[in-house]
């Protein structure tokens, strides 16, 4: 896993990419200066059960230090965890997620940004930016934002 850290006033923005596994060490992020930690999870390709534990330890440690956690651009693999693992985001706030779409005309997979607060339900289809055809939402439509209903 790789991450880039940027300090922006009272906020620390962390861009995470790659795999979250037993090798992942979130400790450097805990030393960030900002009171608010904004984590961009759009580049996460995979997370295994050890990675889930590392993540939860990180979330717990942030809370213990009085930091506020905001998650944005959560990749589909992270949304799966938000919907599967109890308290995955702790007391943090999920600002946005990436929804997976597929265009059958040009056989293209793409992720579309979904602002959680502004979206009542995920669009079933969007226009393909490559061929102009219809891209269909790939995940289970009714469940994708299920984490909003509590427990995460």
């Amino acid at each position: 896993m790789k991450f880039q850290v940027e300090e922006q006033g009272g906020t620390t923005r962390v861009v995470v990419s790659g795999e979250i596994t037993e090798e992942t060490d979130f400790a450097p992020i805990l030393d960030a200066k900002g009171r608010t930690i904004l984590v961009d999870l759009g580049g996460v390709s995979r997370i295994n059960s050890c990675g889930v534990r590392e993540w939860l330890n990180f979330v717990t440690a942030l809370e213990a230090r009085g930091r506020q956690l905001i998650l944005e651009r959560c990749a589909p693999v992270i949304v799966t965890q938000l919907n599967t693992i109890y308290n995955f985001a702790g007391d943090g706030h999920v600002r946005s997620v990436l929804g997976p779409y597929y265009c059958a005309r040009c056989d293209r997979e793409d992720n579309q940004l979904i602002e959680v607060a502004k979206t009542r339900s995920v669009p079933e289809s969007i226009k393909c930016s490559s061929c102009g055809g219809q891209m269909e939402f790939e995940e289970v439509h009714d469940h994708y934002l299920g984490f909003r209903d509590g427990g995460s």
Binding site: N48, V52, R53, L56, Y86, S152
Partner: protein, 324 residues
């Protein structure tokens, strides 16, 4: 399966037709029965090798039929056909004796549920013959290239996952599905390397170790990882020589996933539970072949024809073949 007598309890003509076509092709004689208590009890008195129950019917009658079979005919093997691995079916597995569920793959056809004939025949054959091990039978074509890697070192897990990923890339597997499949492989390999091995006293040998630890495995601790694809499903197996899983332990690990509850995470690294919680939500079919104290083979298959959407809609099957 040749000559075996199989009963299908169903009120659905389409299901009876699908099962009959598959099993008669496999050499079995197929009998039909409705859900009435009288009919089910009469069926129990007949000489049958296997009874299939179509669960997409009134939940109360389905539970009654499965429980009746379990209490009045304990030696009778039962296989349930269903659309969803949850609700009544989860209760029958977790609170009852049900071990075998084959999914109706709604994602494959819009108009009617489809029971995958290969999967049905293979599961029935295994139940009737007791010959449970082997990945090949879950692939619908012969002469396929099945890759095999034997891990003799805990540190080789990442290498074989990368090789598996190269295979998935080579068959042009949808990107979203690749992450799902690789995570299942990772979890099953971790369980086989760290949770399965037992010491001379029968106690877990490596379960306390960090999953990032790299150490050589003894010759009897090697883990065999195999995988292949028949165009429809990617199938993998992970085998160890310990057989340390039993039904109670498996159901404890799979329970939250089957009941569609969120997993609560134990903060120690030494638990197979969270891994299997992630696995049960990420498969088309999950098969545990266990010869207790001797060998475990876990087989996972993934419907890969139609991307994540087809995969999610393809239903989920679970089989616990556990031999003491």
């Amino acid at each position: 399966m040749r000559g075996a007598n199989v009963t299908v309890i169903s009120e659905n003509r389409h299901v009876v037709r699908s099962v009959t076509r598959a099993l008669v092709s496999g050499g079995a004689r197929v009998h039909t029965c409705s859900f009435g208590a009288h009919e089910v009890r009469r069926e129990i008195t007949e000489q049958r090798d296997l009874i299939l129950v179509d669960a997409d019917h009134d939940a109360f009658e389905v539970s009654n039929a499965v429980n009746e079979l379990a209490s009045l005919a304990r030696d009778r093997k039962v296989l349930v056909l269903c659309r969803e691995l949850s609700g009544t079916i989860a209760d029958l597995i977790l609170d009852g004796d049900l071990d075998h569920v084959v999914a109706k793959h709604g994602g494959v056809a819009v108009a009617r549920d489809i029971i995958d004939e290969t999967e049905l025949i293979v599961t029935c054959e295994k139940l009737i013959s007791g010959d449970i091990f082997g990945l090949e039978r879950y692939l619908s074509l012969r002469e396929l290239d099945i890759r095999e890697h034997v891990l003799d070192h805990a540190g080789k897990r990442q290498d074989v996952i990368e090789r598996f990923d190269s295979f998935l890339e080579a068959i042009d597997c949808y990107k979203g599905l690749r992450a799902v499949i690789l995570t299942v492989a990772d979890e099953l390999l971790m369980n086989a390397i760290f949770s399965a091995p037992r010491d001379d006293r029968g106690q877990p040998k490596y379960d306390h170790r960090e999953r990032s630890d790299r150490f050589p495995l003894e010759p009897n601790e090697t883990v065999t990882f195999r995988f292949g694809c028949d165009g429809r499903n990617v199938v993998m197996s992970v085998a160890d020589r310990f057989g340390s899983l039993d039904r109670e332990m498996l159901l404890e690990y799979l329970g939250a996933g089957l009941r569609q509850e969120k997993g609560k995470v134990a903060m120690k690294s030494s638990s197979a539970g969270l891994g299997l919680h992630l696995v049960i939500n990420s498969i088309t079919q999950l098969v545990f072949n266990v010869e207790v104290g001797k060998k475990t083979e876990v087989i996972a298959s993934f419907f890969v024809r139609n991307g994540i959407r087809g995969f999610r809609a393809s239903g989920q099957s679970l089989n616990l073949f556990i031999e003491s």
